[in-house]
């Protein structure tokens, strides 16, 4: 290989790398936590609010029914972890399996939302997200609640 062709190869390689670098940099810049959240179907407050505003998702409250009775995200359904089997029958009849579902609990420390999301997935619902911030984050932001 001549010096000229070697030079060309090096320049081409550098150009290719510089072209790819933004994508590579972006991939590395994305926090591993966010990636993990995407994998497990977690969404944040902004995403939940966007879905709420566009009416493109069905919100499901995973807390106990009496907690739901006291307060819940406006328009949300109740599917408590403890009484899932009893409540799911009605839910199934009204919500097609293709519906985008956002499950929430009181806050990030509450595991009920994740458990209910898993149960929904087992029952054929594939498009299930967990809003881990839960009702606390939602109400702190001043977003609509009822109950």
């Amino acid at each position: 290989m001549s010096a000229k062709s070697l030079h060309r190869t090096l320049v081409a390689s550098l150009l290719l790398l510089s072209g790819l670098s933004p994508a590579v940099a972006q991939l590395h810049a994305e926090p591993s936590v966010a990636l993990a959240k995407k994998e497990t179907g977690n969404i944040d407050l902004a995403a939940a609010k966007a879905l709420f505003d566009t009416h493109s998702a069905c919100f499901v409250d995973a807390r106990s029914e009496y907690s739901y009775y006291n307060s819940h995200i406006k328009g949300a359904w109740t599917l408590s972890e403890s009484r899932f089997d009893e409540q799911f029958h009605e839910f199934r009849g009204k919500m097609p399996v293709t519906t985008l579902i956002v499950v929430y609990c009181i806050g990030p420390s509450c595991p009920k939302a994740r458990h209910v999301a898993e149960k929904l997935k087992k029952n054929g619902y594939r498009n299930v997200k967990v809003f881990s911030g839960g009702l606390v984050e939602w109400s702190r932001a001043g977003f609509p609640i009822e109950g």
Binding site: Y66, Y69, S82, R83, E86
Partner: protein, 162 residues
Amino acid sequence: MTGIVLPSALITGLRLLLGLLFIMSGGEKLLDLKYFSLVIAEYQLLPSLLIPAIALFVSLCELLCGTMLLLDLFSRIGASVMLCMMAIFIAAMTNNLMRGLDHDCGCFEFLAQWYGLKEEIGIGPIVRDILFFILLLPVTLLGSNRIPWKKQQSKPPANTKA
């Protein structure tokens, strides 16, 4: 029980205290029967169809027995009914605790609101109900079984017999 002697002031004090407590508890439940029904449902001990009726029954029982205790109207019967109910509450909470269930107790919500106590099932509410059970015992055993405003028939004098 003839051997046990307790001052009547103590029985009266217990009767009034417990009577007020049960009136407030029953009244509160009656005001929001739907909420109380949902709490009972969380215990997962009763069929869904029975729950609204049981919620109404428990609330009315507490209110009625509380009134009976407060007015000293057949207070022994009122205390006995509450004693049975306390035993059922203790058994239900112990059962749920052993099953690892975690939910509201549904016992004295007004106490939770006043003192900021978390009314979830646990050792605390069980111990409290045991305490109420113990406090109900003297009224059950030594309380009166009469209508307070009805005049007690005085014994006829001995010489009227002749």
